[in-house]
Symmetry: C3
Subunit: 296 residues, 3 copies
């Protein structure tokens, strides 16, 4: 699974349903000895550990891979590295890489590849866990109003989520600094001011300020961002009665969101992480079943 675009709505619904079943206590253990490996060429706590735990819960053997000590340091290409891992007998890999659509180079790899995030492009497993979290809350997507605030242009979360939500019948709104919007970024939703957006939506998705992806210095400080676009205590009070707050994390406390709101009643931030393991179990199981593996 590489992108949301390749997934039919039916398939999205099946994965979300399976993920919800895992959240409700369903278990599944793979039959036979099956090896997987998580090839993360970019820092990550949440996504890598989440996949790791999901894999262990499914009974897979997780073969460690440390990008910083690997032959990539000797100049080996991504293709040769993944082909190596495949030749060694690993049966599935999860990959995260800084490069957009890195998977286009991997067409000759026979084992399933799960995209753990590519550059500013796609992050389908995050999307599945976000959808699952929304569905848990509202029991539907149709007609929901979802606001995404922040660096929409550089965010793979915004890319994946806005497309999926629009296709599932939700209405998507964006907000944030205007310099982070352009034609392409708005394809799946409408731009609103932060305060208009916050008063309107059922789901408020805050994006992380990704300092590491901004080439030029930002034209505003962290506290200025918070004041202009962040979820302040005042703005939270303007939210609709049952509206929820989401954030893919890691959070910059006091920037995207007031630190006291991170664990407030509306916040689903840590619920999202919890769901991430179940969403990844569903994604992994689907990929493995397609290869003929069975679970008990």
């Amino acid at each position: 699974m590489f992108t949301i675009t390749e997934l039919s709505t039916g398939r999205i619904n099946r994965i979300v349903t399976e993920a919800l079943a895992f959240a409700n206590g369903k278990t599944a253990k793979i039959e036979g000895e099956v090896f997987c490996s998580n090839l993360f060429f970019e820092d990550s706590t949440r996504t890598k550990t989440s996949f790791d735990i999901a894999e262990r819960k499914l009974g897979l053997q997780v073969v460690p891979f440390d990008a910083s000590n690997s032959s990539v340091n000797k100049g080996e290409s991504l293709y040769d590295t993944v082909k190596t891992i495949e030749s060694l007998g690993v049966n599935l890999v999860v990959i995260r890489d800084k490069k957009d659509r890195y998977f286009d180079e991997l067409k000759n790899i026979k084992i399933p590849i799960i995209n753990g995030g590519d550059g500013t492009g796609n992050h389908p497993s995050q999307c599945m866990l976000d959808l699952m979290t929304i569905y848990q809350e509202f029991g539907k997507f149709e007609g929901l109003k979802v606001g995404i605030v922040g660096d929409v242009k550089h965010s793979r979360v915004a890319n994946s989520n806005s497309e999926a939500l629009r296709r599932l019948g939700a209405k998507v709104y964006f907000s944030g600094p205007e310099q982070w919007f352009d034609e392409g970024a708005l394809i799946n939703g409408t731009y609103l001011s932060v305060d208009e957006l916050i008063a309107e939506v059922d789901v408020l998705m805050l994006l992380r300020i990704q300092h590491e992806r901004h080439d030029a210095k930002m034209s505003f400080s962290a506290s200025e961002y918070h004041r202009k676009y962040g979820l302040t205590k005042e703005r939270e009070k303007a939210m609709k009665k049952d509206a929820i707050i989401m954030h893919p994390a890691p959070i910059n406390r006091g920037v995207e969101i007031d630190t006291d709101l991170v664990e407030c009643e509306r916040s689903r931030v840590f619920k999202q992480m919890q769901n991430g393991v179940f969403a990844r179990m569903a994604i992994l199981k689907e990929a493995l079943e397609k290869e003929g593996y069975t679970f008990k």
Copy 2:
């Protein structure tokens, strides 16, 4: 378990007794699927690997965590990192951090946290293995004379051990460069010259020169330290007949101790490491049983 201070003498005795049972061949496997993770934000071979093996011997699933590739690099706080690990379904964590009393920030974490060492503060699992090693040798603590030589002020081993030993009825002596002593450091024992101390004690605990914790350049060289405060071949001959040598390691050979004495008959240096796995099994088992987990 964070500090020795919080442990009653009864509880210390129970843990040491259980550790000795593991050393004598007792086994215990946890029931059900239980995940743990070792979050080490400071270099360590011994302690991290020792916990890792102890966890596996108890039947836990060890989820890898690499601080250097984690979101801590994106500025995430310790609390948010641990809260994340908890949300992902990890059932127990062991933490080592450079910061004294890092655990004070972690009050809202619900899963058990085992302290694998905090700054210059506490190192309770090292203390348990040291107590266990002493008990194996002498069958008691009451009345024993224990000398601790080195950088008492910056050593979490000295802090934890001197407190525990005093409370268990041993008499503690300190020695080493005077600049490393102050009022606080001597609360649990008495200062002696190195040669007086060595002639007096049943247990000689040498501390590691922690170059990495000394801000200013030391006022003496390694060979000067060895001559003035180290365990030379001559000093070893002045030790009491059944006295033993301990060192938390890693050893600076030729500094704290003559290289030929590291594996001499009196040395328990590698015995301590062996015991470390059993002491950590006892600590982990106690923490998990308190949460309702059972072992077979």
Copy 3:
């Protein structure tokens, strides 16, 4: 297992035979709880992951060890690190180190040590997988002509393989830049020009240009190396009908070999990696059986 020199031809044949059995589907699981650890003080994807998977297939518990976060950073010696790992209850270690014959310092270690590569010296597990790959193809070693091209002087692969092949009755030829040859390097074979060698051999082993081991700047560029000594499309056409291409990898595409030939019909490059897991299973099993462990 440290060097090829210490292995009798009988023992080499037994290991290769066992490795071939594993490649043909034989399985073996160790009885009891046995711990191993891979101590790699030099970058590696292939060898480390290959040992890791081999260990798991044999049912061993693999204890993670990260050299870059270990106490080696605090100046601990290799001996003390390995002695520590042994004391912690690890039952077998695989070691790779930059230093030639690092294992000479480890005579007091009681647990089996498998050499995962030492400096420019030995790489016996690579040798076993190469022998196995050749045997799979030709069913014999006697009378085969094997050409090794590249930096023979700095290559532990060339060292190990040429010795073993000569002893098994194959004829070994070398080629590559003359500055990389001296008396010692040619002890097990004869120097030929690249084009003479390619027309002559049944097995063409290309060595990696090890930029990281060359102190002085190379006197030729990558493309110059390719033109003078590399396997170009033209040279490949001059190979004998059933001759095969081998490379220990990681490959510098377009240097040692034209990028289009890496996965050509004659190439056994990824087959070698696949065989690596089976060869290592055979090596580990032999070492553990010698210690009295049993497999089912």
